[in-house]
Symmetry: C2
Subunit: 397 residues, 2 copies
Amino acid sequence: MDPLLEKATRQHTKEHNSRLLLRTIYEYGAISRADLARLTQLTRATVSDAVGELLERGLLEEVGHGTVGIGRTPILLSVVADARQVAAISVTNERVVGALVNLRGELRASVTLDVPLCDGDAILETIYAVADQLRRAAEYPLLGIGINTPGLIDVERGTVVRAVDFGWVDLPLRTLVQERCQLPVYLANDSHSLALAEYMFGQAQGTPDLIVVKVGNGIGAGIVLGDRLYTGEGNGAGEIGHLVVAEDGPLCKCGNRGCLETVASSAAILRQARELRLTQASALSAEPTLEELAHLAQAGDPLARAVIAEAGRYLGIALASLVSVLNIRRVLITGQVAPLGELLRKAVVTNLARRCLPALARATVVEVVALGPDAPLLGAAAPLLTFELGIERLSRP
Amino acid sequence: MDPLLEKATRQHTKEHNSRLLLRTIYEYGAISRADLARLTQLTRATVSDAVGELLERGLLEEVGHGTVGIGRTPILLSVVADARQVAAISVTNERVVGALVNLRGELRASVTLDVPLCDGDAILETIYAVADQLRRAAEYPLLGIGINTPGLIDVERGTVVRAVDFGWVDLPLRTLVQERCQLPVYLANDSHSLALAEYMFGQAQGTPDLIVVKVGNGIGAGIVLGDRLYTGEGNGAGEIGHLVVAEDGPLCKCGNRGCLETVASSAAILRQARELRLTQASALSAEPTLEELAHLAQAGDPLARAVIAEAGRYLGIALASLVSVLNIRRVLITGQVAPLGELLRKAVVTNLARRCLPALARATVVEVVALGPDAPLLGAAAPLLTFELGIERLSRP
């Protein structure tokens, strides 16, 4: 064999083993070298060498002794949660939020800057400002910067192909931030990020097949298939916000009519509430919030209930597409609509059953859940842990 | 290590290597032992032993010499196409078709038996009769029996969960045929089978991400993701036939209204043509066929064009779901509607663009293609080649 190729292969194998060991230790929390060798099927010598190097890099620590029946008690290894940090940035229509996230998904310093509504240039400047602040605040070595934004992202090229609300077309966001900050940068679509965050750190941790539908001003689905984030051939998987669900519905920014976002986004739901309020008796205020809507609906207000039922109907139509195409049995609906809770869930489930094969609908569990405010940041950080260190949650340890 | 476990592990490794070698030889057509060792990264000794055993089992043959610049010319190895046969059976509403398929997807003896329309018991008896005839006709050892049928299949349990047209509910088809024939039996959904056949033997051979939409009396999609057939958590992936695309449309057998099958199946298209014919001047006959419809439409008949455009509109709506969820860029539409060709394709593409994010639609190539009559049989045979011998097409050799 070509000696250069051989050297490259050896290096590749070494890195592969090191990542496998780190991931396994991460998953188990604390584990002995002997158990590591057994689980990874690597030799004791290979484990010992690789662990030595990971200890030297400060990624691992020895955390006291495990318990065994008789004989010597082995030393356990654990990942040092704060060994590295990620500068995680989440971009929405209203603000840019950033935080330092450690290897266990715990947030350290955080920054929030508001942005002028839908001004693409201003949003870019704000991303720079947040990145700069996080770099200054970092107490441990930074793995890099993870950014999630709405829109169609080309993960490989690191560009935002199109973010309708921001007027971004083919924006080379990764290169821009990378050149400024001299750190690895990973981009992710906001819905994809949320699914990854839920799978790695959230209540659906380790669910191998999972759909997370984010409903805010935009709507999109993140899809985990067989323990991997599924992003599609052009990173457009789960772009259901522009699936047409209302015949001759409102005109959408994308140019089509009746897209899901025009009738079931948080803005669309509140617009619908304001419009109905003009013609129908209701305790609803002139500028209602989703929380108020939820509160009134629970108290029996017919207008509030009708608005939620209508949004649920459209989301049910979109869910029928997801379920008919993917046959994934666990669906979380989250985002700004989370307060609409059980009323929304019921409307979605009723309409899902009417819009796809009943057997598929019956086999699907739909939940409406509030994700923690950290979820978008955890989703932004997750690709750095995966690609820079090889850490990803395994569903079946 | 436990000696039993060690023995089992060695046996498992040996089988794994043997399947890897067979698959590689299959993919390359003819290849030397040295190249095999290089490609699979197995030792020369391991390759030599495993190849010896495969030669003994009659699965391989030595096919003369390759060419090298200087020195000894190596002997090449090739898979014996007729070393094994599969009894492939394809079930449709009208008939049960069977054939013996060899390892290269070539058909040998074939059998066709018509069945009484939509009589589940009679269809089962006809499957038995076809299986018996194929077993008698087999000239080489049978790997087993592959059956594809419409409906929701539980591949693991080997049951037809539900086939609406046949009245089958939880039918243990695999066990029934296995007990009768004493051979391994694999079931597959008909659309899934077609996608697999296209990927393994067809014009989309080796396309790693692919959607094949079958439009006949039933409608379903088969999905290949990353070189693997994707079947979903309950084998219901691609069940778009019951996705509702027509608000308040015709009542479907599944209990819902306006399912894709009620407005775009071959039967629905012909029904629509017959109905329009009563109110509109057209050269269309009283009992039109899809071929006649295609022929008239090409000649400019407005009724025929309108019927095709309408079917294309509904298929475009369903395609928007597939594309928004999966972002797969190559879609084949096939089945009984294939003769509608370019007129159907244009209607589908126009409506796809109106019903999902325009950037996703633009990136998607839609073709309307006639698959050979053998495609369903090849799809039925494919799981046997994969699971019994480890042969599957690789997209990147």
